[in-house]
């Protein structure tokens, strides 16, 4: 053992300069790692968004592709077009239906899966199936459920001696599509809500029973306060999904019958790629984007923000 002189006996001298190999600044190191993503997203998201903004104020000749500045003409054409408003209406209707059905199914599934029964673990795993498959595959799958010619429901109706119903007819097409959307998307919400429900202390329910609360009151005063925030987040996700749904509608109805399921997203697709009206399509897509931002931030500020800040205050 060697003992070096205690530091108090030290002469003050200049420190030796030492090359510090590993000490590049954390910000520099971090930005270096983030740079590839930044470049990629700049090129593939920011550029297209700006380009579509540019397109939306251009008049594009469908034959030659020549462009000229058109101001807000495309927007006014899009907005004065009854079809745009119809699509907007359908989009809102569809979004509302999907939100309602998805929330119901998700909450219902979570409440069932919270209980103990034989095969619960298998069922928990199985409900991931719809969510894990492609949306277009789910759409084709449900074609086999809804089809009046070869559909499962028609087949069952026939067995029961009833007339087959065409679920994809004008009056029922939007709710029918929403059911498919919910079938695919609700498992996500179910998992999310299940995790929350399992964190509710069992003692709260015991206490409530002692207090004489019935099933509904227990749900209302214990379950709901716990699931409100996760439910709100799920609603935001579902609404965003529903408002931009494309695959489902393309496969199941292509916007029909007539224009009964022609949502804004589908209308943008048709305007662009079938009618080749680039300017108007771009304008429509901007209306859609603004709608989505509005809906998302509405939910966010109404439900998520105040809850979260309240929660934070409680923690400090």
């Amino acid at each position: 053992m060697t003992t070096e002189a205690p530091p108090r006996a030290l002469p003050r001298r200049e420190s030796r300069k030492v090359a510090v190999s590993s000490s590049i600044s954390p910000t520099k190191f971090g930005l270096m790692l983030v740079a590839p993503v930044a470049i990629l997203l700049l090129a593939t998201v920011v550029y297209p968004v700006l380009y579509s903004l540019y397109l939306s104020v251009q008049r594009v000749d469908p034959l030659t592709g020549a462009k000229s500045f058109a101001g807000l003409v495309n927007y006014s054409r899009a907005l004065s077009d009854k079809a745009t408003w119809w699509s907007l209406l359908i989009t809102v209707y569809y979004t509302a239906c999907v939100t309602l059905v998805s929330t119901g199914v998700a909450l219902g599934s979570a409440l069932i899966l919270r209980e103990r029964f034989r095969g619960r673990a298998v069922l928990v795993a199985l409900i991931a199936l719809p969510w894990s498959m492609s949306t277009y595959a789910a759409a084709v799958l449900w074609r086999y459920v809804y089809s009046p010619q070869y559909g499962l429901l028609a087949g069952l109706a026939e067995r029961l001696g009833m007339d087959g119903v065409d679920f994809l007819s004008k009056s029922t097409v939007v709710p029918a599509l929403a059911v498919v959307h919910a079938w695919q998307f609700a498992p996500l919400g179910a998992y999310f809500l299940l995790a929350t429900l399992q964190s509710v202390p069992e003692d709260q329910y015991r206490l409530a029973k002692i207090d004489g609360m019935g099933v509904w009151l227990r749900f209302r005063h214990i379950t709901m306060p716990y699931v409100r925030l996760p439910l709100a987040i799920f609603l935001v996700l579902v609404a965003g999904q529903a408002a931009t749904a494309f695959d489902l509608i393309y496969f199941l109805t292509s916007g029909g019958p007539g224009n009964a399921s022609r949502t804004l997203t589908f209308s943008v697709y048709e305007t662009f790629f079938q009618n080749q009206e680039f300017g108007k399509g771009a304008a429509q897509s901007w209306i859609l984007l603004i709608l989505i931002i509005a809906v998302t931030s509405f939910y966010y500020f109404l439900i998520v923000t105040p809850r979260r800040s309240r929660g934070e205050r409680k923690n400090t």
């Binding site: 910000t27 790692l33 069932i112 894990s132 695959d247």
Partner: protein, 287 residues
């Protein structure tokens, strides 16, 4: 008495949930093993009396015997469906590899490097996810026509990256966040530089998270339809989605389409089952 009623109710509800979840899938499975001849009778047969793999055999390019014993020729769209599956795999693998190379360092930096602009970078990256693909479709379409990228795998991989990268950054972010807090500090005390701590310690320690990121990247690319439809329909690089669409909207027999659909469901499902222990650890709300 009350608890018995309750138990009956719960089991009934669970059964309903099971039926709701798997019946559409089971039904398509049934349709795919039913002869068209039996299926096309006046009644919709719910259970085939002569289950058969002939639809699959014919989809894979061989003739097979029909219900009446006569030979049926291979399905015309079969090669397109099979090519579509191959193309989807190629595109998904490329997207996964490139996406991981880009997303992993970024997710790591955002989760664990005490850098400035951290939360703003994270928010910006996540915010790009709320841009609906249809809004970027036309600019890409115009750009791709100019650069001759339409109908190329590279073109589709690039648009898939725009969807996959923000998603995997977000998934990876939460994984890296959950590693032990002093991991890099320990590595530095042990003599690693920032970079070698990342490479030698953090990456191996985060292996389960990286697996989950990769699987999600693959599945997301596989599932994407709109861009694939716009950019690859009718080209040699057509992926499975548009190929299925092509077959579906042609006058095709439902039993044959069902076989094609089931074939296309297999790769992602096998992947999801094989790697389910990694996927289960993802915070699905973020996805």
């Amino acid at each position: 008495m009350r608890s018995r009623k309750r138990s009956v109710f719960i089991h009934t509800a669970a059964a309903a949930l099971l039926v709701w979840t798997i019946f559409p899938i089971v039904w398509v499975g049934i349709v795919s093993v039913t002869y068209h001849a039996e299926f096309a009778q006046s009644h919709i047969s719910l259970l085939p009396s002569h289950p058969t793999l002939s639809n699959y055999i014919r989809m894979l390019g061989s003739p097979a015997a029909g219900l009446d014993g006569r030979e049926l020729s291979p399905i015309g769209n079969g090669p397109l469906i099979l090519d579509g599956i191959v193309n989807s795999v190629i595109v998904a693998v490329l997207t996964t590899v490139i996406g991981m190379l880009v997303a992993v360092p970024a997710a790591y930096a955002l989760a664990r490097v005490a850098m400035r602009f951290r939360s703003s970078s994270l928010l910006t990256i996540i915010a790009t996810r709320s841009v609906p693909p249809i809004s970027t479709a036309v600019p890409f379409f115009a750009l791709y026509n100019a650069l001759n990228l339409t109908g190329t795998r590279a073109g589709l991989v690039i648009v898939h990256l725009t969807i996959v990268v923000p998603l995997t950054v977000w998934v990876g972010y939460s994984f890296f966040l959950n590693l032990p807090p002093s991991l890099e500090q320990m590595a530095r005390v042990d003599g690693c530089s920032r970079w070698s701590a990342f490479r030698r310690i953090v990456l191996p320690a985060a292996r389960p998270g990286l697996m989950a990121m990769a699987v999600i990247a693959f599945l997301t690319s596989w599932d994407e339809f709109a861009f694939a439809l716009i950019f690859t329909t009718g080209t040699p690089t057509q992926t499975f989605g548009p190929a299925l669409s092509g077959m579906f909207f042609l006058v095709s027999l439902p039993n044959e389409v069902a076989a094609g659909l089931v074939l296309g469901l297999l790769p992602p499902m096998v992947l999801a089952i094989v790697f389910s222990r990694y996927i289960r650890r993802v915070n699905f709300v973020s996805v």
